[in-house]
Symmetry: C2
Subunit: 225 residues, 2 copies
Amino acid sequence: MQADHQQSHYLAHVLRYAEGTELLVFNGRDGEWRAVVEKITKKGVSLRATNRERPQSPPSDLIYCFAPLKVGRLDYMIQKAVEMGAGTLIPVITQHVQNHRLQIDKLKANAVEAAEQCGILSLPEVRQPMKLDALLVEWDPERALIFCDEAAEGDDPLPALSKLTREKLGLIIGPEGGFSAAEREMLRAAAFVTPIPLGPRILRADTAAVAAMAVLQAVAGDWKS
Amino acid sequence: MQADHQQSHYLAHVLRYAEGTELLVFNGRDGEWRAVVEKITKKGVSLRATNRERPQSPPSDLIYCFAPLKVGRLDYMIQKAVEMGAGTLIPVITQHVQNHRLQIDKLKANAVEAAEQCGILSLPEVRQPMKLDALLVEWDPERALIFCDEAAEGDDPLPALSKLTREKLGLIIGPEGGFSAAEREMLRAAAFVTPIPLGPRILRADTAAVAAMAVLQAVAGDWKS
């Protein structure tokens, strides 16, 4: 098989692999394979798959919706979401969003790198940004949308999560400034939305994201025994 | 009251506050107070407290033990731990630790800044680094120590957490390379240690830290209703 332009450059000029070097490859469909660098030409690098090392893991079904943060924290948030099992990432534009100049290609590269680093063989999908109202209109009502609500009652997210009846899951995390009152109302009005609190302390948006995914995966997602 | 040297510099020369400017102050004992800049001299800034805005919150009792990561991720890890409710932070030196040149003063400043940003009024304590064996010998056996074990059985941390009988809690997070086999054995041999898994995917140490604190606080800590 032929590595694409960017991959060829990386293999030949950054990693400086030679013909005969072994490596692990995955394409998101056929599992993880041991492969060998067969030929390096000006056209690119060709690889020969030799042995399947791991079967393809099922793609993560969790949809992760997030208001884009400033760049440094956004990169971090994307990496963490992929590690925690987000299969689809949707940037959501809300009233208090700080970062309107999203570079979706960079987000995608970041998500794929996070998957590679954590040995996740299915490639996360990064969708185009949507406005919050459009997200709610187009949302599959069979899929629960967990909403981290700073104004939710109490501190404990477990009671609400353990009452979820929908099997398919999504999570939405607001911007650093939180959702506006109108946005909170719109979210709470949807039958598929479940608001949860996240403890007694104010959390930054990127902390809330990891914390919410942990309790969600543990109670109703793919950590559950 | 007199602001100390560093605080005076920050108020007068970074924030450029003038006499008469109002601000919020806390000392970790008396709650949060509204105060006013009374006098700025070469000796420093003096403040006058005017009104108590919030009562003192009880200090977080959770002890957070962590193998120091490389600097960028370490700063992040400290911030997140404080947000998630760590009251005491103990750097633990293990076999695979990458960062041996800890600057405890910087860690302290970082922890205090995280507390300020999140409106936590009790100042987190950062202890001197300890070796893992010394930590276990000196550990209060009445306090549970939750250990994120990559080799723990299953994916679900909730069953083990819901069986905890000790009320006081601690958490230990290993370095990026994980604990060594001997260290894992030493941890698992202690009666106060509870190993937990964190889902089916490999998590980076800083992700595992936030995820573990979320499930721990929700099941057995101060998020619990």
